[in-house]
């Protein structure tokens, strides 16, 4: 087990190095290859009336006139050893891991990411619990009551959940439950759990439900399909023939086999969400990683986009690792050694 984890961690680090090189190339190499000049890139970080001297100043400050390999080396070194940036009369320290410095909002990227992470984790964790419980439960019931009105109703709702975009369900839920009925607070009310747990919970109920609605629908359909397939297996017939209770057959034998692929997808989904639930955070104005990256894309804030990409890649790699380890727990046929 330990050797497996060490192997996977090394592979994960290598993977992140590749991701960093690839994303750096996308944001810096390709534009240069397409004719973008250092001044053109620097002009994104200066005001609309910037003088040529100011643009040149930004080129120097951001080292945009260095060869790209040197720029990438500086970026990689910043992650390991940190970097300092000039703010005028003083320098800003960007300690390791320094993922760059955003000159759009005058902040190092890493602390900004850490600042945004709790909101994203709160959203992802709550929604994941909801969709896993609701999605799997509905999927099981639907599979066991196949062809009934209950099955059809559940699958219709699931189809709606998959089909409706979050910005639609989010805005409708805000309009109905927040601004018409007044049951929940409106958008922009997210508060940190340490500041006010009650306000934190109230502000997240609608985003949780909105996000979980989409995923629960997917999971219900997946669980239903998996259960229907598993329930037709020989070993289920054998279990029933042995006289086991139906609840035992379903939970201990059928569900366990069904859960294996669902767990894989669950891990990846949560990993992806930790990199930012862009639509949900934007709709409900939650200051999370997803909102940060979409704003950074709009504002051409490349260091932030690069940082979030690395951040998201880290969580996906981590989620994969955890899923692989959990496989052994869920499915005894899998041995990590």
């Amino acid at each position: 087990m330990v050797a497996f984890i060490v192997r996977r961690v090394i592979a994960a680090v290598l993977m992140l190095a590749v991701v960093s090189a690839a994303t750096f190339a996308i944001f810096f190499l390709i534009p240069r290859a397409l004719g973008q000049t250092p001044e053109g890139m620097a002009s994104r970080y200066v005001g609309r009336d910037a003088t040529p001297e100011a643009i040149q100043g930004a080129v120097k400050r951001l080292h945009l006139d260095d060869p790209l390999i040197v720029q990438y080396g500086r970026f990689a070194k910043g992650i390991v050893a940190g970097e300092d940036y000039s703010l005028g009369p003083r320098k800003a320290e960007c300690p390791a891991p320094c993922f760059g410095y955003s000159f759009n909002n005058n902040q190092p990227v890493w602390p900004t990411l850490l600042d945004r992470l709790p909101a994203t984790m709160s959203l992802a964790a709550g929604a994941a619990i909801l969709w896993l419980i609701a999605g799997v439960s509905i999927g099981i019931v639907s599979a066991l009551r196949r062809g009934t009105a209950l099955d059809r109703a559940a699958m219709t709702v699931a189809l709606a959940g998959v089909s409706l975009p979050i910005y639609f369900t989010g805005l409708v839920s805000l309009s109905v439950f927040a601004y018409t009925l007044g049951i929940f607070p409106g958008g922009g009310t997210y508060t940190g759990i340490s500041e006010n747990p009650v306000a934190w919970f109230q502000a997240l109920v609608l985003p949780w439900i909105t996000l979980a609605f989409l995923y629960a629908a997917l999971y219900a359909r997946l669980t239903r399909a998996g259960m229907l397939e598993t329930m037709g297996e020989d070993y289920i017939r054998t279990a029933r023939a042995k006289g086991l209770k139906e609840s035992t057959v379903v939970t201990k034998h059928a569900l366990r086999a069904t859960l294996t692929p669902i767990l894989t997808i669950f891990g990846l989904d949560v990993g992806l969400l930790l990199g930012g639930a862009v639509l949900t955070e934007s709709t409900f104005s939650i200051p999370g990683v997803g909102k940060l990256v979409i704003d950074a894309i709009r504002g051409n804030d490349l260091p932030v986009v690069l940082g979030v990409t690395m951040f998201a890649a880290f969580f996906i790699v981590l989620a994969n690792l955890i899923v692989d380890i959990l496989y052994a727990v869920v499915d005894p046929r899998v041995r990590l050694s």
């Binding site: 973008q36 001044e39 053109g40 002009s43 994104r44 970080y45 200066v46 005001g47 609309r48 009336d49 910037a50 003088t51 001297e53 100011a54 040149q56 100043g57 930004a58 120097k60 400050r61 000039s86 703010l87 005028g88 009369p89 003083r90 800003a92 000159f103 909002n105 005058n106 902040q107 900004t112 600042d115 805005l171 805000l174 309009s175 927040a178 601004y179 409106g186 958008g187 922009g188 934007s282 709709t283 409900f284 104005s285 200051p287 909102k291 940060l292 704003d295 051409n300």
Partner: protein, 592 residues
């Protein structure tokens, strides 16, 4: 001719309305329309556009929290490093420049009054030296007194450093400070010769050339004082030394700004601001449609951007009289227009430019902005809220504004292109309204045989790499460019100089995209800015406007308007004409 008269009448009506409002006194003097409606319903006993001409929900009640929300975030909260109109309005809550605009709706609001200064600037005979005396006893929020050197330092840091790049650089352009390296490279402020401070209360600006509108320049937040010891460069925005009625309590970049009362602000030195709410909260990066919902529900008080509600809320407001009566439809400082490149064939021939002027269906190009609520159809370079504006229309395109195709064809024949020609319309591809305008224009021009291809470019590099780069414009045959401009100060010079002065044509970051370099326009701009008599100066701006329009290279689509909503729990509301949005320094809240 008939339409010219109609336009003139319309503008006269606007002016009269504004003038009448002005006659009613400053914002503080009017306003017996105290709102008393339910929260968020907008049923406050006020009428549509009331706050455009008078003070609405007048109240001197103190207390409560004034809540703003914004879809974006500021370029910087540092008064010396910002170029957003709403931020120039908002920053006055904590930063006092030498001069500011009179707090009044209508034309009165375009007049300047002293703020940090005791009076308007005293110009030397040659117009190259401007002296301001500071009011005594004005303090920062930490209780220390504002000194003239702090104003000098503020000008130096905001205009002569390569770090603070977001604001305009007018002082660097006009001050006689050749060779000055800026305070971050040269710590000795005495080396900055463009501003002198003979004593602690006198600031003297030394200019390269006479500049009669210098009072407008020092109404910019960049003249708000900054103590050198407290300047942390780009980080200064996180804790600005306040001279206004509010000071920073906390600022989370990209998330939230909280202001609280500044106990060291003395209202006896400040006749232009109020200090009504106990606290001001600003949420950044909020969902645009959700901001509107919260505004309609009274959960927030103001959309800070001042650009108006989104289409969904607009439809809701227009459809319900009780909501419409709580909304205002002011002009913004923006003209939305197309420029035709005088260097791209066949637009190097004025007749071809005229053909476009006549052929364009201006009702169709008005529609993307939201129809009449989004702006009045334009015919000049200057906008109606610019001092010196006079209405005229050199290219009347039909009584219904849908185009005069006969005149267009005449112009095409005169241009030597009787069957039309091919050209390109450049547009910022991520700006939906501008793309729709380009499409409307494309359809209009097609009626006379002008085949236009729409070329979309990213707005981030629009000015530096594409339409603002003459070389790119020529190589790619960008005959028509869809753009917009809002003045930095509401005079003809403030509006026109950057976009029509041929000497401002730059290799990159060029706003005179038509590349108009008419010596008579340039000379008039010089003459105007050296003319001290205001009436004579305003006549010159009008003349410049006419000259520009005679070139036929500039075609206005709309004088932009916006639809602002004021919840009934917002008090002391009026539209400040200098910003085209509510005066943020006057607002109060009705406590529930």
């Amino acid at each position: 001719m008939r339409k010219t008269k109609a336009l003139a009448l319309a503008a006269l009506g606007t002016t009269l309305t504004m003038g009448l409002a002005a006659c009613g006194g400053t914002a503080g003097g009017g306003g017996n329309n105290t709102g008393s409606g339910n929260q968020g319903t907008g049923a406050s006993g006020t009428a549509f556009n009331d706050a455009y001409t008078k003070l609405v929900n007048a109240s001197d009640a103190k207390g409560g929290t004034l809540k703003f929300a914004l879809t974006d975030e500021p370029d910087s909260t540092d008064p010396g490093n910002t170029y957003y109109a709403w931020n120039w309005n908002f920053s006055r809550l904590y930063a006092r420049p030498l001069m500011t605009y009179q707090p009044a709706p209508g034309e009165e609001g375009l007049k300047l009054v002293p703020d940090l200064a005791e009076g308007p600037g005293q110009a030397s005979e040659d117009g190259k030296t401007w002296t301001y005396k500071l009011k005594k006893g004005i303090k920062y929020d930490d209780g220390t007194e504002v000194k003239a050197a702090d104003v000098k330092y503020a000008i130096a840091r905001s205009n002569f450093t390569s770090e603070l790049t977001d604001g305009p650089k007018y002082f660097a352009q006009y001050l006689d400070a050749e060779g000055y390296k800026g305070p971050y490279k040269d710590k000795n402020l005495d080396d900055f010769k463009g501003v002198e401070t003979p004593d602690d209360y006198t600031v003297v600006f030394k200019l390269k050339a006479p500049f009669s509108e210098f009072d407008f320049l020092v109404a910019n937040p960049q003249s708000a004082p900054v103590p050198q010891a407290k300047d942390t460069g780009l980080d200064y925005e996180k804790n600005v030394a306040s001279t206004g009625p509010y000071k920073f309590e906390s600022y989370e970049v990209g998330k939230q700004l909280n202001l609280v009362k500044n106990e060291n602000w003395d209202p006896s030195t400040d006749t232009t601001r109020k200090q009504l709410p106990d606290r001001i909260e600003v949420q950044y990066k909020q969902n645009a449609d959700d901001i509107d919902q919260r505004l309609l529900n009274g959960q927030i008080h103001v959309d800070l951007g001042g650009t108006g509600v989104q289409p969904a809320a607009r439809a809701k407001i227009v459809g319900k009289p009780e909501l419409k009566n709580s909304s205002d439809n002011p002009y913004t400082p923006f003209n939305r227009y197309a420029m035709m490149s005088t260097k791209v064939k066949p637009f190097d021939n004025i007749e071809c430019r005229k053909a476009v002027q006549y052929a364009t269906d201006k009702v169709a190009t008005q529609a993307p902005w939201g129809g009449p609520l989004g702006g009045d159809i334009g015919s000049t370079a200057m906008t109606p809220t610019t001092v010196g504006y006079k209405p005229f229309d050199l290219y009347p395109n039909g009584a219904d504004h849908k185009g005069d195709l006969a005149k267009a064809k005449e112009s095409l024949a005169a241009c030597g292109q009787p069957n039309g020609f091919e050209t390109n319309i450049a547009v910022r591809g991520d700006r939906v309204k501008e793309v729709q305008v380009a499409e409307a224009m494309q359809a209009s021009l097609d009626r006379v045989g002008i085949k236009a291809t729409i070329k979309k470019y990213p707005s981030g590099d629009w000015s530096s790499q594409y339409a603002g780069k003459p070389d790119f414009v020529h190589k790619n045959g960008l005959g028509i460019m869809v753009a917009g401009w809002g003045s930095d100060w509401p005079s003809g010079f403030g509006f026109l100089s950057q976009i029509v002065d041929g000497r401002f044509i730059k290799d990159s970051g060029n706003y005179n995209m038509m590349e108009l370099n008419d010596p008579s326009v340039n000379e008039l701009l010089d003459k105007g800015i050296q003319t001290t008599d205001t009436t004579a100066r305003n006549e010159i701006w009008s003349e410049v406007d006419k000259k520009v329009m005679e070139s036929a290279a500039f075609m206005s689509f709309v004088y932009e308007k916006t639809l602002l909503f004021r919840p009934s729990n917002l008090t002391n509301v009026y539209v400040h004409p200098a910003y085209g949005m509510y005066d943020y320094t006057w607002l109060g809240v009705k406590q529930q």
